[in-house]
């Protein structure tokens, strides 16, 4: 039982990271129906910005987090402007290929500049652990979960209580109608990319702390898994992405803890296929009727 609870605790901290990435995926998908494959790489760049800030300037955890988020925001908005905006009316597969191209571009440009080797993340949080009975919780996990929760609350506030959030929701329901109501669609999409990328940047710093190692190709797998999380929770649905992320994180740690960790990735994708077949809209997704 203690081991089980311990795995749950580990799963929650890993899952909050997935949830942060999944939020960006789900928001961008919700608004322009694009699987933004470059999202996982924005998260990688966030991790590198955090690495650079903490290594070369002695700043602590929170400044690093904020700088990484700001850097990723700029990056995400730029990518949207350069690569996705000219394709607003092109077929979806063309935009998807562009996203894949962007993803390669970010990965290999980073590899060109920082090298392909794995770097170890500096210790910016103490290694102190707390014991609750036999369950160990360390400071890092607490920071990860608290940061993720704070950001999610902030997101809920932005989406539901501000005018921009309202515009985001409107654009994701019907782009043309939103435009007719005087909403600037392009600005709203840029804003969505900004928030999504900032969250990915935060996730990058958190994962650097959690796994203690970063490399230019680290974004691929978590990117795909975060997308699975987004689909699991119901794509386009913000609470769904949070639940999906946590679910995938807990599932992964449980499989690593009790079964064969080699099958961890396969299990995530098997879950995805089962979900898609049983309930294609995901846990919290809304059913849309097919119209002719």
């Amino acid at each position: 039982m203690d081991q089980f609870l311990q795995q749950i605790v580990n799963g929650i901290s890993l899952g909050s990271i997935y949830a942060l990435i999944a939020l960006g995926y789900t928001m961008i998908y919700g608004i322009i129906k694009l699987i933004n494959f470059a999202h996982g790489d924005i998260y990688m760049i966030g991790a590198y910005i955090g690495f650079a800030v903490t290594t070369y300037t002695n700043l602590g955890f929170f400044p690093a987090l904020i700088i990484a988020m700001a850097g990723c925001t700029v990056l995400g908005v730029t990518i949207e402007k350069i690569a996705y905006r000219p394709l607003r009316n092109a077929s979806r597969i063309a935009v998807l290929i562009t996203a894949i191209g962007m993803s390669f571009f970010l990965e290999y440009t980073m590899m060109f500049f920082v090298g392909a080797e794995v770097r170890s993340y500096p210790m910016i949080l103490s290694k102190k652990t707390f014991n609750f009975g036999d369950i160990l919780i360390n400071i890092q996990q607490i920071y990860i979960v608290l940061t993720a929760v704070a950001l999610m609350i902030l997101l809920q506030f932005i989406v539901h209580k501000t005018k921009t959030g309202k515009a985001m929701r409107a654009v994701s329901v019907d782009k043309e109608a939103a435009q007719l109501m005087g909403i600037n669609v392009n600005t709203t999409i840029s804003f969505t990319f900004a928030i999504g990328s900032a969250f990915a940047g935060a996730a990058g710093v958190l994962v650097g702390i959690y796994y203690n190692s970063i490399d230019p190709l680290m974004g691929m797998m978590p990117g795909l898994k975060a997308f699975v999380a987004a689909v699991f929770g119901g794509i386009g649905n913000i609470p769904g992405a949070m639940i999906g992320g946590l679910g995938i994180g807990i599932m992964e740690t449980l499989i690593s803890g009790y079964g064969n960790s080699m099958y961890r990735d396969a299990a995530v994708f098997a879950l995805l296929i089962i979900i898609l077949i049983v309930k294609p809209t995901g846990l919290l997704g809304k059913n849309t009727r097919e119209k002719v």
Binding site: A83, T98, F112
Partner: protein, 318 residues
């Protein structure tokens, strides 16, 4: 029905001519072994791209798991030809690999092809990842270390033969009744369904034919490069194939062939700049998609282009 029409003779002639041309260049020594690898890669990529184009370009079912089928063909062919070390064993392996991929394609296709668009893409991606992880953990595939020393029977002759075969069969399939049904599904699934087309059936057929040729390409890959490991067939490989298809034009077999040759040449050309190779590749991809999102050929075939040219002349003569 006449089989030896002028058109068919022309096609046969150009097939033989291309073969003879490359063969002469190889014999004379202008194309050394380095370029031979490029040609082999191009042939394998053509088979993969043409088969994926059938699924994604013509039937409109977005698949991101083509590398999974390729890996099944590759491993089955490798294992069989390592047990039976003859040309017969190689051919048997190729066939068995392609059939194994087809069976898996049907088994996976039946449940997942109910999904649409991006959901299908993600489901097929997940399926390919599962296949990869399974190969990573099996005893017979030697796990992550992979299989080494697969007998090398695939040569330029076999590669060319199977490439032509794949193109001809898929082209003829598209001209047949099931092929037309597939195109109807791409154009409008609901309309096709109300015209009495069993959409699931034809989607699964297209998926199975696509998987068959992907398996075949995998077998050829295994035999030509005599080394396999599961990492070769990751997400990146599926993306590579999709890039060829989209670059050439969804719904154009000619486009897939041209794009496969073009990308093969670009990759070879960039070989000497390893550091920036992938960056250039990525930039090229984005730029082409921004300026020509329908791909190089759109949905036109080479025949359409020729018809256009000759059509005008014929009018004058008449």
């Amino acid at each position: 029905m006449r089989t030896l029409t002028k058109k068919n003779l022309l096609i046969l002639g150009s097939i033989l001519l291309t073969f003879a041309l490359v063969q002469v260049l190889v014999l004379v020594g202008i194309l050394d072994s380095f370029y031979e690898i490029t040609i082999a890669t191009i042939c394998i990529n053509i088979i993969l791209a043409v088969s994926l184009n059938l699924v994604t370009g013509f039937t409109g079912q977005f698949s991101l798991g083509h590398a999974g089928f390729m890996s099944i063909g590759a491993y089955v062919c490798a294992i069989i030809s390592m047990r039976i070390g003859t040309v017969g064993g190689f051919l048997l392996g190729l066939l068995a690999g392609a059939l194994a991929a087809t069976v898996v394609g049907i088994l996976i296709g039946i449940p997942t092809l109910r999904l649409k668009g991006d959901y299908l893409a993600i489901a097929t991606l997940g399926m390919a990842e599962i296949i990869r992880v399974v190969f990573l953990n099996l005893e017979i595939t030697n796990g992550a270390a992979g299989l080494n020393g697969i007998p090398r029977y695939a040569n330029w002759l076999w590669l060319y033969f199977f490439t032509v075969m794949a193109i001809v069969i898929i082209n003829n399939f598209l001209k047949s009744s099931p092929g037309r049904a597939c195109i109807a599904i791409r154009e409008d699934e609901i309309a096709a369904e109300s015209m009495g087309i069993n959409t699931t059936k034809y989607k699964v057929i297209a998926f199975a034919v696509g998987a068959f040729f992907a398996g075949l390409a995998g077998g050829l890959y295994a035999s030509y490069f005599y080394f396999l490991k599961p990492d070769l067939f990751g997400f990146m490989k599926s993306v590579d194939i999709l890039v060829i298809v989209v670059l050439g034009g969804l719904g154009s077999l000619t486009g897939s062939v041209i794009a496969a040759i073009l990308l093969g040449l670009i990759t070879t050309f960039l070989q000497s700049f390893t550091a920036v190779r992938m960056i250039v590749y990525a930039v090229l991809l984005v730029v082409i998609m921004i300026f020509r999102p329908q791909g190089l050929m759109g949905s036109k075939e080479i025949n359409d282009l020729l018809k256009f040219r000759f059509g005008k002349k014929e009018e004058k003569i008449e």
